[in-house]
């Protein structure tokens, strides 16, 4: 068992190293948008009224307004704020993602500790999350996935800390970054539903305290989404009315099938069940010494099925909070995408699975700890994960 002091030192080392790796050479390869960054940077530049990058996808956007209207504005405002403060440089574009990617690791640690009260296990969960290449790549590009992932974890952390109002607020922020951020509140609902139902089965009584906490989180989220959207939209959106904005985004998400012919789609599309096989890698950028590959750590993603099976068993038998948390993340972040993909064959991409990775890491660390495996075996697993991380590391030399 690690002492509090040792675990704190190790956590600080992990966070510092991870931030270093995320912020390293963020300006490489110069003023060039990586993958969908072009859309978000164009939005940020248009909001600020600053010079656009070559190949601006919105050359006729109305000045001062966000042209990328299928996504909420908060993430783009964050990128714009960073540019306003730090100047229009690649570091400023991507620093919010690097910070969010580091916060993800801290939140995984805190969430794991809250559900297991075990420092070593919590460090392992954060460490495994840090070793995921897709997590690293998304922490190095000015896109929205990493913000949503951080806010989903923040929602869950606040909820298990018995701060349901803050959880509702974090969930609302997740929705204001990307509509798929609704996963945050779905995770909370799934977590509390499973916990409350188990309590009901065992005691034949409803826990009003838990139901009240859930109602507060959901209620605060429901009220905060339009309020925050109204606030964020007030100066830079085509939609002053937040409900109009939500209707546009919802109908866009619900109805859009494919606007471009298949041959014009450059990013490989995939279905949610393919993500478990780690196929249809996203080629973010290959240039010079950089090969930014959008792919998960096989040691994490291939563990999905055993982790979920193990979590189901543990949740049913013992009601372990960590197992419930793993299942809640899967239920809130993965199951809706599977259901959506079965209903409408709309485009989906491998990086949509990103918020599930902390769940798998949490599952591997917390559920794997009690297994009677030799310590060397567990260490070998972590070393193999580290090996895969190094294999997929984006830099192949000194820029």
């Amino acid at each position: 068992m690690l002492s509090p002091r040792h675990s704190r030192v190790l956590l600080i080392v992990l966070i510092a190293l991870s931030f270093g790796v995320r912020a390293l050479w963020l300006d490489y390869p110069g003023r060039l948008a990586i993958l969908d960054e072009g859309y978000y940077l164009s939005s940020a530049h248009n909001i600020l009224g600053t010079e656009q990058l070559p190949g601006n996808p919105y050359p006729y956007a109305r000045p001062g307004l966000d042209p990328l209207i299928e996504h909420p504005i908060a993430g783009k405002l964050l990128i714009a704020l960073s540019i306003r403060i730090l100047g229009d440089t690649p570091y400023a574009w991507r620093l919010p993602s690097a910070v969010a990617g580091t916060v993800v690791l801290l939140l995984v640690y805190l969430l794991a500790y809250r559900t297991t009260r075990h420092r070593g296990v919590s460090l392992a969960a954060a460490g495994l999350t840090a070793l995921d290449p897709m997590m690293l790549v998304n922490s190095r590009v000015a896109m929205l996935e990493i913000f949503v992932t951080a806010l989903i974890l923040a929602t869950l952390y606040f909820y298990v800390r018995r701060l349901p109002a803050l959880a509702g607020l974090a969930a609302a922020l997740a929705v204001c970054v990307k509509l798929t951020g609704v996963s945050a509140i779905l995770c909370v609902v799934a977590f509390e539903t499973m916990r409350t139902l188990r309590h009901r089965v065992l005691t034949r009584r409803w826990s009003t305290r838990r139901i009240r906490a859930l109602a507060v989180a959901v209620g605060v989220c429901a009220v905060s989404v339009p309020a925050l959207l109204w606030l964020f939209n007030s100066r830079a959106s085509l939609f002053p009315n937040p409900f109009d904005n939500l209707r546009y985004m919802y109908t866009h998400l619900a109805a859009t099938f494919a606007f471009r012919p298949p041959e014009a789609v450059v990013v490989p599309q995939s279905r949610p069940w393919e993500w478990l096989l780690n196929v249809r890698e996203i080629p973010y950028l290959t240039q010079g010494v950089m090969n930014l590959r959008g792919v998960y750590n096989p040691l994490l993603v291939f563990a999905f099925v055993p982790v979920v099976a193990w979590a189901v068993w543990l949740a049913a038998r013992r009601g372990a909070a960590a197992a419930l948390m793993v299942l809640a993340i899967v239920a809130g972040c993965y199951v809706p995408l599977v259901a959506g993909s079965l209903l409408v064959p709309r485009p989906a991409y491998l990086y949509y699975f990103l918020p599930v990775i902390p769940g798998i890491a949490l599952g591997l660390a917390t559920l794997g700890a009690p297994l009677k495996l030799p310590r060397a075996g567990k260490a070998a697993y972590v070393l193999a994960a580290a090996g895969a991380f190094i294999y997929y590391f984006p830099f192949r030399g000194w820029p």
Partner: protein, 197 residues
């Protein structure tokens, strides 16, 4: 206690009503284009109106709504139903002007089409206003927005308004623009024919 199921049903109904089956809309649009290309304009219009009814369940700025109205306007131009074409184009321009700056080439082109529709309906003064907006854009993207044909339409519009000097100047501009954009094209015949009226 019956309130909760009713509320739940209302929420589900509202969410479902705002859903459109994307593949079905795309299939309807593809069918409409096929019917139009076969010359079956009545059937094409029915298909497009069906697609528009589907798109109308979405947000007014949804791309399905924009694309359906564009196809409807094209079809009505082809069938000579200019009042219907004008209605579809007016809807479209309003939506596009919400989304983009007014110098967007599509907005300019649509003002040109609106001018043509108004001219065909005898609304020459309204047409002139649309042509002026179209010209402001076409001057920036002359080839893309076919500025030579725009000058030609403006010249005919000036003739109809009894402004022969203005018409002559516009015919001359149409000719000069056509010489740069499409030397030897059929537009020269058209200019001569319309000038001689």
């Amino acid at each position: 206690m019956a309130v909760r199921p009713v509320l739940f049903a209302v929420v589900v109904a509202v969410l479902a009503s705002a859903c459109v089956n994307g593949p079905r809309w795309e299939a309807t649009m593809a069918q409409a284009r096929l019917q139009r290309d076969r010359g079956d304009y009545g059937a094409a219009e029915r298909s497009l109106l069906d697609a528009l009814a589907q798109a109308d369940r979405l947000h007014p700025l949804h791309p399905y709504e924009l694309e359906t109205n564009t196809e409807l306007a094209r079809l009505h131009f082809r069938t000579g139903e200019f009042a219907k074409a004008k209605a579809a184009l007016t809807r479209l321009v309003g939506k596009l002007e919400t989304l983009y700056r007014s110098d967007h080439p599509s907005i300019g082109a649509m003002h040109g089409d609106l001018g043509r529709a108004c001219d065909a309906l005898g609304q020459v003064d309204e047409a002139q206003g649309h042509y002026a907006k179209a010209l402001a854009v076409a001057l920036q993207v002359p080839a893309q927005n076919a500025i030579d044909y725009l000058y030609l339409d403006m010249a005919v519009n000036a003739q109809r308004r009894g402004l022969s000097a203005e018409a002559d100047a516009l015919f001359a501009r149409a000719e000069a623009a056509a010489r740069q954009l499409r030397p030897g094209g059929a537009i020269f015949e058209e200019i001569r024919a319309k000038r001689g009226r």
